[in-house]
């Protein structure tokens, strides 16, 4: 049955591919910097190593510290079941799943940040504070985008919503609205996944980090879960974005999957390019960027009203 | 005979009290006389309508209502007075006690009298008998208060007399009797312009006695300086006598078809009184004067209700009872707090709920009752009056009353809570006063009555109220 097949592919892609994206990003950055860079599969190696390592726990911590990464990975993976990949329906699609998608991310955030505070370290506290603060603005942009999409597609479920652009039924203002939403979603992607210009994943000054600094104390399998979860999150948002970047389908499953995979890698490259081209914004200016994203979507909404 | 006994008994008791030599025994005449009077009142209320002195004395529903209130309130105050006077041994009560009794007699006379002139004589007599009561403390401030009370009150009463003459003259002509039922009969032939002038004069005159703004000026002084028990009797008894007189005049006006004009004036003075009271209650530091202004406010509510007519009248009559009894609670408990701290300024008084728990709590409850909180009586009557305002499409009136009530609540509440809450200030004067049976129980009783009126008005009383309202409305 094709459905089962799709689901299986969906899950495998979601489980297997994420670390590759990170690899691609780093490779891109390395090349543009004229360096050799780590191998594409570096993260896979890291993960394997981490899962084999022992844990070191701070005496200050409680169960929250351990539950944090677990819950966030689980939440993100479950959210992945709701996001349609390319031309295919998501394994689960129902009215209102968009809310569940966003709120599962929120759950992940809650426990990541709590786990960070559990260590009682000033740096991790800083990271947690920034994470939750910026997320509150990213959330607005995300839901604004949803509002526009619901308006255009007339449906309350991610799958039909995101497939709407592919129907190519939109011209004029609605099309413009879609474009704006796409841009906004890209910004959200950068923010949610702690990429430049919002955050610099491999800076070496803890004071300026957001996501990386939250997990300073995690080690061994826990740290592995954290890294993996981050990668999956990146994949999911890229998948959302792809519906705007490549709004068409061949109608032929294999080709479509190929297209989707290529698309994901392309997004990774794009992220990498952005990271090598741009500098990190100072924290003061991050909010304005996110607000700008929401404003774009607001324009989109008014286009749809017209 | 019953009616004459109602008036004579207290006067005789006054004589007895005057004759008694000992200051410590004399007060006990009060409860005895009060009990007798209460018994007579109940008998009179049960007995069929009767009259005495050729119809000059009779009990119509209005009179019954007022008489009942007076008798009950006096009984409460009489018991309290015994306890109170024990704390004031330094002062002779040779004048005080007899005057209280005469006051009872005269108010009963007002309640029973059916004759324009006799009514006036009664009211004037109450004025004169209360002057020594206000002067009980023998301080310069109390003299000042008495002087103002006497002067303003007497002038007001004089104007009322002129008004009565005018009313008499307006109906001059055929058989010239000044009995109210005759006046009502002849109302339609009355001369309009005389009637108008008469109503104005009587309104100002008896309004002064009632304490309607702007003729209220004597009230804060008198209530502030008089002993609490006197304040209770003035606020709950005397004012209602004046209200009764006003009602009778209003009735005549209605019978003459001038109800609209009279109602307009009543509503106006009602609003004005509530407003003035509100202004002076905000930031009032002397709690007895605050109670005086509260009394002004409620007189305003009474005339407002009557002016609005319909259910408003029923509400006003009910409110007369509620206000009288609640004022009893407030003045008596305030007096206890005054005793306990030796001051009536909220700068010295604080934490009364801890220093005198019973009086403090009763004072707080009384505050909630008088500001129209259920389950107490005033809530019911005020709700009736306000609903009437809206039902009569007097939206502006209703709205402004509500706003003013809020201001009153804020002003009064600030003072009351400052008194009862918190810890007693260490420097505030300690006195030998403690809540006792005699000074506590009467207040509890009247609080209970207020609660009863709010939950379930006894059937006989209800029918009495309805008769009275109907009696007032018949002329309309």
């Amino acid at each position: 049955m094709i459905d089962i097949a799709t689901t299986l592919i969906h899950i495998t892609v979601m489980l297997v591919m994420p670390p590759l994206l990170i690899g691609v990003i780093n490779k891109t950055k390395a090349w543009s910097a004229g360096r050799q860079g780590p191998p594409l599969l570096q993260l896979y190696y890291d993960l394997l190593r981490l899962f084999r390592k022992d844990m070191v726990l701070s005496r200050t911590t409680t169960w929250v510290f351990r539950a944090g990464p677990v819950i966030s990975v689980t939440a993100v993976l479950l959210a992945g079941l709701l996001a349609p990949f390319g031309a295919f329906d998501a394994p689960l699609a129902f009215d209102g799943d968009l809310v569940l998608f966003a709120y599962l991310m929120g759950l992940a955030r809650f426990f990541t940040a709590s786990a960070a505070l559990d260590t009682g370290s000033a740096f991790e506290g800083m990271g947690a504070a920034r994470e939750v603060s910026f997320a509150s603005l990213a959330e607005v942009a995300l839901f604004m985008a949803f509002v526009v999409l619901v308006r255009l597609s007339g449906s309350l479920s991610l799958t039909p919503m995101l497939h709407a652009p592919m129907t190519g039924a939109f011209h004029g203002l609605p099309a413009a609205a879609l474009l704006l939403v796409g841009v906004a979603l890209f910004v959200v992607l950068l923010a949610e996944n702690a990429r430049i210009p919002i955050d610099d994943p491999n800076t070496h000054l803890e004071l300026t980090m957001i996501h990386e600094v939250m997990v300073l104390d995690h080690s061994g399998p826990l740290f592995g879960l954290v890294l993996y979860g981050a990668a999956v999150k990146l994949l999911l948002f890229s998948a959302l974005l792809l519906h705007f970047a490549l709004p068409f389908t061949f109608g032929e499953p294999l080709l479509d999957w190929a297209l989707f995979a290529v698309g994901l890698l392309a997004v990774a490259v794009a992220v990498g390019v952005v990271e090598s081209a741009m500098a990190r914004l100072s924290l003061r200016h991050v909010p304005s960027l996110l607000i700008a994203a929401s404003v774009l979507c607001a324009f989109g909404f008014f286009f749809t009203l017209a | 005979m019953l009616l004459i006994a109602l008036i004579a008994l207290p006067v005789l008791a006054a004589g007895v009290a005057m004759a008694l030599p000992s200051d410590s025994w004399r007060p006990h005449v009060l409860p005895v006389a009060a009990a007798g009077h209460l018994a007579l009142t109940v008998a009179a209320l049960r007995a069929p309508a009767q009259d005495a002195l050729g119809g000059w004395l009779a009990l119509d529903p209005l009179g019954r209502l007022v008489l009942l209130l007076l008798s009950v309130l006096f009984a409460i105050c009489a018991i309290y007075a015994v306890g109170y006077l024990r704390y004031r041994r330094e002062l002779s009560n040779r004048v005080f006690v007899p005057c209280l009794l005469i006051f009872l007699g005269m108010t009963s006379l007002v309640a029973c009298s059916q004759h324009l002139g006799l009514l006036w004589v009664g009211v004037e007599a109450t004025t004169l008998t209360t002057a020594p009561l206000i002067y009980f403390n023998r301080t310069p401030r109390s003299i000042e208060a008495t002087w103002k009370y006497l002067l303003v009150g007497s002038v007001g009463i004089a104007i009322a007399l002129l008004g009565s003459f005018f009313l008499a003259y307006a109906s001059l002509g055929q058989d010239s009797s000044l009995l109210f039922q005759d006046l009502l009969k002849r109302a339609d032939q009355m001369n309009r312009s005389w009637l108008h002038v008469a109503f104005v004069l009587l309104l100002v005159g008896y309004g002064t006695k009632m304490g309607l703004a702007p003729m209220h000026t004597w009230k804060p002084d008198a209530y502030g300086e008089a002993p609490g028990v006197v304040g209770a009797l003035l606020a709950g008894g005397l004012t209602n006598c004046a209200f009764l007189a006003l009602l009778r005049v209003f009735q005549v006006c209605q019978a003459a078809g001038e109800g609209a004009y009279a109602s307009r004036l009543l509503v106006f003075f009602g609003l004005l009184s509530i407003g003035v009271a509100a202004v002076f209650m905000v930031g009032q530091r002397d709690f007895k004067r605050m109670l005086a202004y509260s009394s002004i406010e409620h007189m305003g509510i009474l005339v407002l209700g009557v002016g609005l007519g319909g259910l408003g009248v029923l509400g006003a009559l009910l409110h007369m009872l509620n206000n009288g009894l609640t004022k009893g609670v407030l003045f008596l408990s305030a007096a206890n707090i005054h005793r306990a701290y030796g001051s009536k300024s909220i700068d010295q008084v604080g934490g009364a709920m801890r220093r005198v728990p019973l009086s403090g709590s009763l004072f707080l409850l009384g505050f909630f009752a008088i500001t129209g909180s259920p389950p107490f009586g005033p809530f019911v009557s005020e709700f009736l009056i306000l609903s009437r305002a809206f039902a009569a499409h007097r939206f502006a009136v209703g709205a402004s009353v509500l706003v003013l009530l809020l201001v009153v609540f804020v002003g009064m509440g600030r003072t009351v809570l400052a008194m009862v809450q918190g810890l007693p200030a260490s420097d505030s004067g300690r006195t030998n006063y403690r809540d006792g049976l005699l000074t506590g129980m009467p207040i509890v009783v009247s609080m209970g009555l207020v609660l009863l009126l709010g939950l379930q008005i006894p059937a006989p009383l209800e029918s009495l109220l309805r008769e009275a309202a109907a009696f007032l409305e018949t002329a309309r």
């Binding site: 929120g106 308006r151 009203l305 | -």
Partner: protein, 675 residues
């Protein structure tokens, strides 16, 4: 059974709870027996009442009864319909939990002075709350309403020896009385317009159009003051923060909801409102939600923080109500169903998790002795159970799956998006814009509760008192568990709550076409599946980790913290610093006042930094207004200046004016010349 038993049960419950505190007055100031008896009475009464409520929600017939009032015109009507039953459930649940909690939290032996009064008013309050929802006419409603306000006032001022408590109680009292007066007007007007005090749906005749809008505004004022919607919330934070915790739980859990109940009840009576009303409600709700959570972020006091979150959640509830009203005006049963269901379910949910949080906060205060978040910390170790319960409440209040907050917010989201999806360009097509703001409120709530939970229960101890903290006694834990379990149950299996909601919606709605069942509007099956998967897999992974670490015991060390050998509590991130970024972002709204002594000399001495967020409406609007009002009155007070001559002058002037009015001046001149 006879169909009249349920209302009788409710009345019995009212009597039992109302009288619960009375025997205690007779017993001694320190007698624990009195407390036990009172608690028993409350619990028994609550169980009876809850039984009746559940029965009606489960489909028992609607009953009405008339009790004698002070006057025949004012007899008291009672009515137990689904809406009332729905609100009765949290009343009694929280009543039981709070009473259980109180037996240890407010031991008579430890509070001989105010313990009895507290219990008396506690029972009274529960009874009054039940009375409010059962009342079926304006008079009975007002009566119960004001009783509720008064007993709540006495509860708030339990510790009236503290100045801030007096102030909080006073502001609350004034706000409550203002609201009651507005309701006075509301019901008087209703009486005048519809001709009866009983709650009967008004027939929208021609004359009532103007009256309807006035009634709506009065209701918004009167009930809004109670519900604490912005800007009528000014009394709320102080009152809820300064009351004893199990009282705060009741106040914020159910008392606020009475404002919502009142609005729902009034909208049952009024004819269908214009769509503008619904939009207005959604606007108010959104503003309240964001305002509440933003101010919560700025708080340093655990209970004030929770109090501001009540404003946020009331905002969410009002959004649902507004959605339902839009549905009514747009004749869209689905919108009504979703909006109303979201509103109602969130009423339940907020009652549950907010009470849970207040009780947990109470345990913290009880054992650590301070409400200052920054002086707590690391309580997760000594108070593991309390911490876990607080965590449940925190996740739930952030509306995160798999707990109950998500279910109700999902209903509202779906409703908003549905308006968005099948709405032509009409006035209400702007409504969906509320969704992103609701999302923002949610995200900010996450930030706020990460701050609260992380600073209070996680990290190092920030003070001696925190270090000495101990676990709460079992009765208090039991009370919290009583609230936490429903949170989890509704969260994991939201479908269970739907039949009750359907019944209320069906009874409330007044449209030509009946509303679709909620289970058709929102697919609960996949959601419950996701919940199960989430919980299951998390537990599985945790078990794997545990077994693994049993095999290979993880090394214990200090927090790495970039190489500090001996990290101290002062190095940990404080709640204030945690919120700093957002507080700065919303500085234009918060106007946080900071007092820091930044020195510049070489060896600066010990320095202090202190910030606080004032309560805007109170400090910046009402207080100055009142002051200027009093200043305006001052000259008038000169009228009573003690000169008897002038007093007599007033009399004379009044007299002359009235007489002059009798005689128009031209008339007077004519006669004078003619004479």
């Amino acid at each position: 059974m006879t169909p009249t038993i349920w209302l009788d049960l409710s009345v019995a419950a009212i009597v039992l709870t109302a009288s619960s505190g009375v025997p205690g007055l007779a017993l001694g100031r320190r007698s624990g027996a009195a407390q036990g008896l009172a608690s028993l009475l409350v619990i028994v009464g609550s169980l009876l009442g809850a039984l009746a409520a559940v029965a009606v929600l489960a489909g028992a017939a609607i009953e009405t009864r008339t009790l004698p009032g002070p006057l025949p015109e004012l007899s008291l009507h009672l009515r137990l319909d689904p809406l009332a039953a729905f609100f009765l459930v949290p009343v009694y649940l929280l009543g039981v939990a709070g009473t259980l909690y109180g037996t240890r939290y407010w031991k008579q032996a430890e509070h001989p002075e105010n313990g009895r009064g507290l219990r008396l008013c506690y029972g009274m309050l529960i009874a009054a709350l039940a009375g409010v929802v059962l009342a079926a006419d304006g008079f009975a409603f007002l009566m119960a309403w004001e009783l509720m306000a008064l007993s709540a006032f006495f509860l708030v001022t339990t510790e009236d020896d503290r100045a801030e408590v007096q102030q909080a109680g006073w502001v609350y009292l004034v706000a409550a009385h203002a609201g009651t007066l507005a309701l006075f007007a509301l019901f008087a007007l209703l009486w005048a317009v519809s001709g009866t005090l009983e709650f009967r749906p008004m027939t929208s005749s021609a004359g009532t159009q103007g009256a309807t809008s006035v009634l709506f505004l009065l209701a918004l004022l009167g009930f809004g003051l109670k519900a604490g919607i912005v800007p009528l919330h000014f009394w709320l934070p102080a009152a809820h923060a300064d009351a004893p915790s199990h009282v705060s739980a009741l106040l914020s859990g159910v008392l606020l909801k009475m404002g919502i109940y009142g609005l729902l009840r009034i909208f049952m009576l009024l004819p269908a409102p214009p769509p503008g009303v619904g939009m207005l409600m959604i606007g108010i709700g959104t503003v309240s939600a964001v305002y509440g959570v933003v101010f919560a972020l700025g708080q340093h006091d655990l209970k004030r923080l929770l109090a501001y979150h009540s404003i946020e959640n009331i905002g969410i509830i009002v959004m649902g109500l507004g959605l339902a009203l839009i549905g009514v005006s747009a004749q869209q049963p689905a919108w009504v169903a979703l909006g109303l269901a979201g509103c109602l379910l969130h009423v339940w949910n907020h009652a549950l998790f907010k009470a849970l949080l207040f009780l947990a906060a109470g345990s913290v205060i009880h054992s650590a002795g301070t409400r200052e978040i920054d002086r707590l910390g690391g309580l997760g170790k000594p108070m593991a159970r309390t911490a876990a319960l607080f965590a449940i409440g925190a996740v739930a209040i952030c509306g995160l799956p798999p707990l109950n907050g998500f279910a109700s917010e999902l209903l509202i989201y779906v409703g908003l998006f549905r308006v968005n999806a099948d709405g032509a360009s009409r006035l209400w097509s702007a409504a969906p814009l509320a969704a992103p703001l609701l999302a923002m409120a949610g995200a900010l709530a996450v930030a706020c509760f990460v701050k609260a939970y992380g600073t209070v229960f996680l990290g190092p101890h920030r003070s001696e008192s925190a270090a000495r903290a101990h676990e709460a006694p079992s009765s208090m834990l039991l009370a919290m568990l009583l609230l936490a379990l429903p949170c989890v149950a509704i969260g994991l299996l939201p479908a269970l709550a739907m039949p009750a909601l359907d019944r209320v919606v069906l009874d409330w709605i007044r449209l030509d076409s009946p509303p679709p069942a909620l289970s058709e509007l929102v697919p609960w099956m996949p959601i419950m599946g996701m919940n199960a998967a989430l919980v299951g897999s998390v537990l599985a992974v945790l078990l794997i980790l545990r077994s693994r670490s049993r095999r290979r015991v993880p090394a214990q060390t200090v927090t790495w913290d970039c190489g500090y050998v001996r990290p101290t509590a002062t190095m940990a991130y404080t709640a204030s610093s945690f919120a700093q970024l957002l507080v700065g972002l919303y500085g234009w709204l918060l106007r946080s006042r900071s007092r820091d002594a930044t020195r510049t000399e070489l060896f600066p001495p010990r320095q202090h930094f202190h910030t606080n967020v004032p309560e805007q409406v109170m400090d910046l609007v009402l207080a100055p207004l009142w002051v200027s009002f009093r200043r305006a009155l001052a000259p008038l007070r000169a009228l009573q200046h003690g000169r008897v001559q002038h007093y007599l002058m007033y009399v004379l002037l009044t007299l002359c004016t009235l007489l002059a009015l009798l005689f128009p001046i031209d008339e007077l001149l004519r006669r004078f010349l003619g004479w």
